[in-house]
Symmetry: C2
Subunit: 306 residues, 2 copies
């Protein structure tokens, strides 16, 4: 018997929301999945894909009687959603989210959380570059880490219930403060996305090299960057607007380090380059050893695309 | 009848050399594969893996009677190799290489090319992050572009023979000048590698975020960067030392663009961020449409690692 909740409400049915729907169904974690999506198109797709037991065009109706409410929307939309559902939340319900920034979500959501509702911010470190209700799949969270950032006032029993939920989705769970989360993710996720977006933009703007050359010869390394740069623009805009301080801090360090590397190239300092390049190899080995990456060459890409 | 050459000499048996050995054998492109490697360990592996018909500890002996000589060594080693084999090259032989920089290879190799030998620099845009004689496979070049940069004095018949060779390996061939090659690759390959190396180094040096946190939460985007940052350090040191001007030029533009993005974050300019992020998506779609990337989400990574 896996059922942990009666009604679960998924507020937003994109990559994460639809993946949660798949795994909740497969693992029989809830007896009813209620879905809310802003767009009529997404609501229609959610029904056609069999993701939800009921679909709603008002978030407040979707959360009615729900034991677990998961906001699966861009970080910048969480405050508005929380305000809208506040009065409809069931006492003792768990309210959580999946956003890539945590301090800003706490800032925006907490004022709307009624007494008796357990607000526990969360962030599953899982995803692909695709988005929308058709992009989800049940195994998205398997072996990935989910970070929960309970507040000092959070009810421990509720935190444990939410941990159990993520375990049932296949994830490992770690607890930390919202502020530390935002710093860690600034380097492991936000900075890489920003750098990838920037590299793609720089390449697209060159006048001496044509766009078609950039595309033809992208297998030399560039195409790896385009994957994360293909992620949902709204989601990522909100990440950068809401984790500004930590991202600017990491960006400052990145630029400092890049200047040193630039200097080594300008002055022909091969030893500095070689030593830095050698250290970088070790980091990948450790990620593979930690089970967070495939050991297959080229990400295990289809051999035709190696 | 696919045989295009009698004896082919592979000077260097790493990822590219061993992949060439596999495809030359499978497609029966040559009657004899002679191999040279600097290290005894690599020579032993090349024999054990059945990559070569003869193995040599002197490049000059390996190239004797060879109709096609392919230097598969780091860019910085090509001049020395060319000097060493110069007197042993057969008249009318084709001498080529696979280096990621072309103008510097011409500069270093051309002075050692004897009259009657056809020197045609080349660069297959194919690879994985792995290295060494055991990392090669016959399909590495399939559907990838190989750039040849013939010299104004190059014999057209010899260029056509080398084009045919790369076609037999599964590649498409494009001709351009060494200088244009170096500019194109600076943006599609050299800059992305430099940025990836730098991001990994910045992350490894943080004091507020532990190495183990960087590794645990790397699925957020960071781990993509570690793949190309795991490439052979010697090869990449040589690339940056030998394509300095073009890399510094691309780096300057990258930094300029990054400053603009940094400013947009600092001032909360969501529109600039959103518009840039939206453009980046299109580039990936074009790379997939051009057959240079898999359409599968997450590079088609093993689902356990998504």
């Amino acid at each position: 018997m896996n059922q942990q909740f009666g009604r679960v409400a998924l507020i937003g049915i994109g990559l994460i929301g639809s993946s949660l729907a798949h795994v909740i169904r497969r693992e029989k974690i809830a007896s009813h999945i209620a879905g809310y999506a802003k767009s009529a198109e997404t609501r229609k797709a959610a029904v056609q894909l069999g993701l939800v037991d009921s679909i709603h065009d008002t978030a407040a109706v979707a959360v009615k009687d729900a034991d677990l409410v998961i906001m699966c929307v861009p970080v910048g939309a969480c405050g508005e959603i929380a305000k809208g559902i506040s009065a409809a939340l069931k006492p003792d319900a768990i309210l959580t989210d999946v956003g890539s920034v945590k301090a800003a979500v706490v800032r925006d959501v907490l004022p709307h959380v009624p007494q008796g509702v357990h607000f526990i911010p969360g962030h599953p470190i899982a995803g692909t570059e695709q988005s929308g209700p058709a992009s989800g799949f049940a195994d998205l969270f398997v072996k990935r880490w989910c970070i929960l950032t309970p507040l000092p006032t959070s009810d421990l029993a509720a935190v444990t219930r939410l941990e159990k939920f993520w375990h049932a989705c296949g994830s490992e769970v770690e607890l930390m403060t919202p502020e530390h989360h935002d710093l860690v993710l600034a380097i492991t996720s936000h900075l890489p996305h920003l750098i990838a977006y920037n590299t793609v933009a720089t390449a697209a703007d060159l006048e001496e090299v044509t766009d078609s050359e950039v595309i033809k010869y992208s297998a030399g390394g560039f195409r790896d960057f385009t994957r994360i740069a293909a992620s949902d623009p709204t989601m990522w805009r909100d990440v950068f607007l809401n984790n500004r301080e930590a991202v600017l801090e990491m960006l400052g360090r990145f630029s400092e380090d890049l200047s040193a590397l630039q200097r080594a190239i300008r002055w022909g300092d091969g030893e500095t380059l070689f030593n830095l390049f050698t250290r970088a190899r070790e980091v990948r080995r450790n990620i593979i050893a930690a089970g967070q990456e495939t050991a297959a060459p080229d990400f295990g890409r289809d051999p035709k695309h190696r």
